[in-house]
């Protein structure tokens, strides 16, 4: 239940009412005051003051001053008349209620109107600002355009002028040409004047030479004869210069190079070298050199060359256990298996080798060709001719100049056709 404030005091003039409302220590803010045409409410919880005014007031112009524990209202009357009392005397509950609601509604509407009005003014301001900036920019643009136009025109005029001068110059040139038939020294002077004044207009040039010729008459003619003969040196003696072009690691210019892939391949190889699968219990039994995959690979190669295929396979196996990322080990082991007729193993090893030989670059071309050929051979011996042919063709793609591969591929094709015909 709010506490009603009733200790207000008021006085009036013809035009205004002055109301003083003590607040009993509570602090009021403008939000706590609600005023409409005929209804005034101050609600500072827990205090409440409410008044239905005797007559309507102009609530937009009325003021309220908050201070000193007091609110001082200055209410301007709509009709200039003396009020009998501040509030309406016999106000029953319903009327009060009605008045209150009305007041609230009115206040709402007013607020709405105000916001609308504010919005509209804001928009107008914005539009104005926009137009102003647009005008400024337009002016700027126009200024630049004008400058450009002026330049263009100036330049076009100059060009026309120069062109006309050229035309006159040409006329003089043609007149001179006719004169050539009569005087042999004429063309010579032309050349001289051409040399002296490279970009001068022919007009001036020719007039100068005319003066010259009259001055140094005698010597000039002798000079001109000599000059004419020395004029152009004989054509050079024909000769050839041989050139070498910068050798390139990649046969094409930078933008076509496959630098990225080459780098990747080199990187991979470097990585592979560094791997040591050291989790073998038998490692301690091995000699130092037997732990080196390269040494084992060489051993294997030697045994292969001597015909000891099983020994070679053993060597390669151990090497693989130490380092399973070296493609050459698998490649060579595949060759051994081929000789031993372990065809499935040969296929497996060649495939593993090919896997390790990515990315496909110029460096590992030979290895890839070998891998494809070995796998192809194994597959053919397993009578999987079509797959074998695929491998041979892949090998041919990498190295189209190898006659052996071509011949073998042909043979396989015939075989396939033969089996197809017979089946």
């Amino acid at each position: 239940m709010p506490v009603w404030l009733r200790e207000h005091s008021w006085r009036q003039t013809l035009t205004a009412v002055y109301l003083s409302l003590p607040l009993r220590g509570a602090r009021a803010t403008p939000a706590n005051i609600f005023c409409s045409e005929q209804y005034l409410k101050v609600s500072v919880p827990p205090f409440l003051f409410e008044a239905i005014l005797y007559a309507p007031i102009d609530d937009t112009n009325s003021t309220a001053k908050i201070g000193n524990g007091n609110i001082f209202f200055t209410l301007y009357k709509k009709e200039h008349a003396m009020w009998d009392s501040l509030t309406l005397a016999n106000a029953d509950k319903e009327k009060l209620q009605y008045l209150r609601e009305n007041a609230v509604l009115k206040a709402h509407e007013k607020a709405k109107e105000e916001t609308e009005a504010k919005k509209i003014t804001k928009q107008d301001h914005k539009k104005y600002a926009l137009e102003a900036t647009m005008k400024v920019e337009e002016a700027e643009r126009k200024r630049i355009e004008d400058l450009k136009e002026k330049e263009r025109q100036k330049v076009a005029e100059e060009l026309e002028l120069w062109k006309n001068q050229q035309k006159d110059g040409d006329k003089y040139m043609s007149i001179q040409k006719k004169g050539e038939l009569h005087q042999e020294t004429e063309p010579l002077k032309e050349r001289k004047s051409g040399k002296v004044s490279k970009t001068r207009i022919p007009n001036e040039g020719t007039s100068k030479t005319r003066l010259k010729s009259t001055k140094g008459h005698g010597s000039c003619s002798i000079f001109s004869q000599d000059l004419k003969e020395e004029q152009l040196p004989a054509p050079r003696a024909a000769a050839t210069i041989k050139v070498n072009f910068t050798p390139r690691v990649f046969p094409t210019a930078l933008r076509e190079s496959r630098v990225a892939e080459e780098e990747e391949w080199l990187h991979k190889q470097a990585e592979a070298r560094r791997i040591i699968n050291s989790d073998l219990s038998e490692l301690e039994d091995l000699k130092e050199e037997e732990k080196n995959p390269d040494w084992l690979k060489d051993k294997g190669n030697k045994m292969f060359a001597m015909g000891d295929y099983l020994g070679a396979v053993n060597a390669y196996n151990l090497a693989v256990r130490l380092n399973n990322k070296l493609p050459l080990l698998y490649l060579n082991r595949a060759a051994c298996h081929l000789k031993l007729r372990n065809l499935h193993k040969a296929v497996e090893d060649s495939s593993k080798a090919l896997e390790l030989l990515t990315p496909p670059v110029a460096d590992n071309e030979k290895a890839r060709v070998k891998a494809h050929v070995r796998r192809g051979t194994a597959l053919c011996q397993l009578e999987l001719y079509t797959e074998g042919l695929q491998d041979y063709e892949a090998a041919l793609k990498i190295d189209p100049r190898n006659k052996n591969i071509e011949k073998d591929a042909e043979k396989i094709r015939h075989l396939i056709q033969g089996t197809m015909q017979s089946s």
Binding site: K148, K195, K198, T199, P233, P235, A238, F245, T246, A253
Partner: protein, 360 residues
């Protein structure tokens, strides 16, 4: 890299634009005139030479000549000022010299190369430089040949790959160092990034280097002086400026390089009236105007006491984008400072004027 102050910067003004009905590969000003030539290839596989004249704000077509093979490049460099014969290289490897007044039969013709002539340059004509008039052609067959119009059928110099060596396309050639009657050098750029400098007086290879990316265009700042600077442009937006006054026995010539844009730089052309200003044209349809500044000392001694060149610096004066297609050819007018023509692969040729070059 510092750019010139705003209001004083040279502006590139587009004066005339002309749409063509064929692909234009080269455009050249006719010396001592307001006329220009466009060389190219028509859709039906024939070569086109068109002669235009600048008339008010338009290009007026004066003449159109059709030839059986598409034409790749042309030069006026080796003819005299009165004759003004055009030397062209075509897609078939033929070098022809035409009299534009009577273009039915060439004045000189030779099947110089087995494949397309990519680039051509001439020296000794137009009243510039001294010595015999010569034309150099660089072709996709890897050879660079120098021709004298007075000698039929055989070149006066032939720079070809050693027997058995795989050939690299030669993309560009340029003459230089023609300051007296005997001296001459030819600079050639290849697609693998090689730049080779051949001395024609000694008939030997004077210097070579490799700039990693294919060389699209080389040019000396002046053909007729003791060689001063050489600009080489390449793929991937880089160009190198070499200081050619001091050759170190092992290190060659000093250079400064600049990356202008992401796309290929197709052409470089020096301003005929100011040898330190040059324009590069790019694959993105843009033109950049550069100025070279010399260093305080152009050469210094290295640790062994031999002379070594010092490269200067390059600053961008202006850049402008004219087209979406590469601008493949560029030519400054030798008569009017700042007037230039460029041809692009969008089948248009544009005449541009670069202003305020006096203040550069």
């Amino acid at each position: 890299m510092s750019a010139a102050v705003g209001a004083e910067r040279p502006q590139v003004v587009s004066h005339v634009q002309q749409a063509l009905s064929y692909t234009v590969f080269d455009c050249k000003w006719v010396p001592r005139s307001a006329r220009l030539l466009c060389l190219g290839s028509a859709a039906r596989g024939t070569g086109i030479i068109q002669l235009y004249e600048l008339h008010g704000g338009r290009l007026e077509l004066l003449r159109e000549i059709e030839k059986p093979k598409p034409i790749k490049c042309g030069t006026f460099g080796a003819t005299s000022l009165q004759q003004r014969y055009l030397a062209t290289g075509d897609f078939d490897g033929n070098l022809n010299i035409w009299n534009l007044e009577a273009p039915e039969l060439p004045v000189y013709s030779v099947k110089g190369h087995k494949e397309i002539i990519n680039s051509i340059d001439g020296v000794g004509g137009l009243g510039i430089g001294e010595g015999a008039p010569e034309i150099v052609t660089g072709s996709r067959d890897g050879t660079v040949k120098v021709w004298d119009p007075r000698q039929n059928d055989t070149p006066v110099a032939n720079m070809e790959p050693v027997q058995g060596e795989s050939k690299r396309d030669c993309w560009t050639v340029a003459f230089g160092n023609a300051y007296n009657q005997e001296e001459r050098v030819v600079c050639a750029g290849y697609d693998n990034g090689d730049i080779k400098l051949f001395d024609l007086k000694m008939m030997s290879l004077r210097w070579e280097t490799n700039i990693k990316n294919g060389v699209c265009s080389v040019e000396f700042d002046r053909k007729d002086i003791n060689m001063n600077k050489l600009v080489a442009t390449s793929l991937e937006g880089k160009f190198h400026v070499f200081d050619m006054r001091t050759q170190h026995p092992t290190k060659g010539f000093a250079s400064v390089s600049e990356k202008a844009q992401k796309s290929t730089i197709w052409q470089v052309r020096h301003l005929p009236q100011n040898r330190d200003v040059f324009m590069t044209s790019g694959g993105s349809g843009s033109l950049h105007l550069w100025k070279y500044e010399y260093p305080a000392q152009r050469s210094r001694k290295d640790s062994e006491g031999s002379e070594m060149g010092v490269a200067g610096s390059v600053s961008l004066l202006q850049n402008v984008t004219l087209s979406t297609q590469p601008i493949s050819s560029l030519d400054w007018s030798p008569d009017k400072k700042g007037l230039c023509v460029c041809g692009a692969f969008d089948q248009t040729v544009r005449v541009l004027i670069v202003t305020k070059l006096n203040k550069v």
